[in-house]
Amino acid sequence: MDPLALTLIELGAVVFCLGLLARLAGRIGMSPIPLYLLGGLAFGAGGIVKLEGMHEFAHLSGEIGVILLLLMLGLEYTAAELFTGLRRSWQAGVLDLVLNFVPGAALALTLHWGFVGAMVMGGVTYISSSGIAAKVITDLGRLGNRETPVVLSILVFEDLAMAVYLPILTATLAGVSFLGGLTTVGIALAVVSLVLMVALRHGHHVSKAVHSENSEVFLLNVLGAALLVAGAASAMQVSAAVGAFMLGIAISGSTAHSATRILEPLRDLFAAIFFVAFGLNTDPATIPPVLGWALVLAVATAATKMATGIWAAKRAGIARPGRFRAGAALVARGEFSIVIAGLAVASGAVPRELAALATTYVLIMAVMGPLAARYVEPLTKAFARKPAVAAQA
């Protein structure tokens, strides 16, 4: 068959299947990310059907997917929100970082994946899925709850931590010498602080430069700027994702809100292809050996996120049921864990099992997170009632 025709047919079939999966996910009220990953596993190396034609396209689309995911993560919060978040909740943020980075890193060291593997797995278990968390909070009608700002401020802190973590990760993965790595990280941190300062003082100029009343012009402006900045960052060895993320932070105010609205369908498409592409590169046969470890990690890091939420909510003066709700809202891991694992796998600096472990882990956490958030309330009520009944008897 004509290669172009083959590519189109494969791509069409994959995107169509993704549509069906997303619909299924919506029907049963879960995040579509685990289903996309499963779809990728089914189509990829060692899967049920092997797709060859769309490989190149899937690779580039996946890269664009990462750029859009990070750009929109940056758009989510304004620089001012990041600063107030940092001032108000840095203790909770640091606790979150320590409690949730350590289990992943420790497991990687146990499995002899070395320092690089520990850096990667720590990131995978640390970062909550702000996408899943925001959706769960909205869907369960918890926007007006008092613990919600606590949850969101932890997500804001993680957002900032990503800005520092990603350049360090990129340098580590590139395997540059200690001194070279220090320079790269130094440059990256300087750029990050500079962008934050510019975003805080002159964010409206950046916003103005890309803004347009015409939605077509606006879309092309934002997308073009994101790809340009990402490309430039990549050329400077700072990782394309970080560049896009910084641009997202610099765009603020109403421009950021309309950019989010306009980019959402594009992000959904390319991010879906990114998850599939990640699944494509993972051999399903590598999953069963790491399944046990993934389960251990899932249970441990669900507990550590719960602990983080409970502690932060308690500090904010939230009553018992609210503390558990805050913890459970943070449990879900998703898109950014896969982004981190994807960066690591693409660099080839980590063993193949890491991809399998990260995939399995995210599959479990993306399903477990929303379920935990939904059922934590009746569970805490049931537990709270039992002693009361006993006391009466």
């Binding site: 989510e76 919060y77 929100e81 107030t84 978040g85 702000s130 925001a134 909070i137 909205t138 009608g141 918890r142 926007l143 007006g144 709850n145 008092r146 613990e147 919600t148 700002p149 969101l152 401020s153 997500l155 804001v156 809100h257 609205r261 939230i318 009553a319 049921p321 609210g322 709700r325 309330e377």
Partner: protein
């Protein structure tokens, strides 16, 4: 009244206060523009029993209803020494013959001796509106007059 404003990074802003009965009540304004009315449960003020999405029209109408009640209560208080004078509120329905017409067209003062002392619109008060003020659907008119005068004014506003 002490209204607490809380930023919800990435999602919107919450404005709420504690009622004397121990419930937290307020609104969440989403960045995308929706408004949600929130009411806490009685046993856990941290959580919400209901969060009701409102369109901007619905939010404005609810604001008018609550604000109008407040205004009417104040006016009744002031008129309580004058026997026979009553305060009442009329809302302009979407099928009212006077919607999008200047108020003077209804000739309410001439026909029934009733004064429109204020119009509540989108949560704001237009005090002592003139005859050239155009009525919109959803407006709440605060009227002062006798019982019979108000009855006939209600009839005029509804049926022309």
């Amino acid at each position: 009244m002490n209204v607490e404003e809380t930023n919800l990074p990435g999602l919107g802003r919450r404005k709420d206060f504690m009622t004397a009965s121990g419930r937290r009540i307020g609104v969440v304004e989403r960045w995308e523009g929706q408004t949600e009315l929130i009411v806490s449960t009685w046993d856990d003020p941290d959580t919400c029993q209901a969060s009701i999405p409102l369109t901007s029209d619905e939010a404005a109408t609810l604001g008018n209803l609550l604000g109008g009640q407040h205004l009417a209560m104040k006016l009744t208080e002031e008129h309580k020494d004058v026997p026979g004078i009553v305060t009442r509120q009329f809302s302009i329905a979407a099928d009212s013959p006077f919607q999008n017409q200047p108020m003077g067209k209804a000739c309410i003062r001439t026909r029934c001796g009733v004064s429109i002392v204020a119009i509540m619109r989108e949560g704001e008060v237009l005090p002592s509106p003139g005859p050239d003020v155009v009525l919109h659907p959803g407006d709440l008119l605060v009227a002062v007059g006798t019982q019979e005068g108000l009855d006939s004014a209600a009839n005029i506003l509804r049926h022309g």
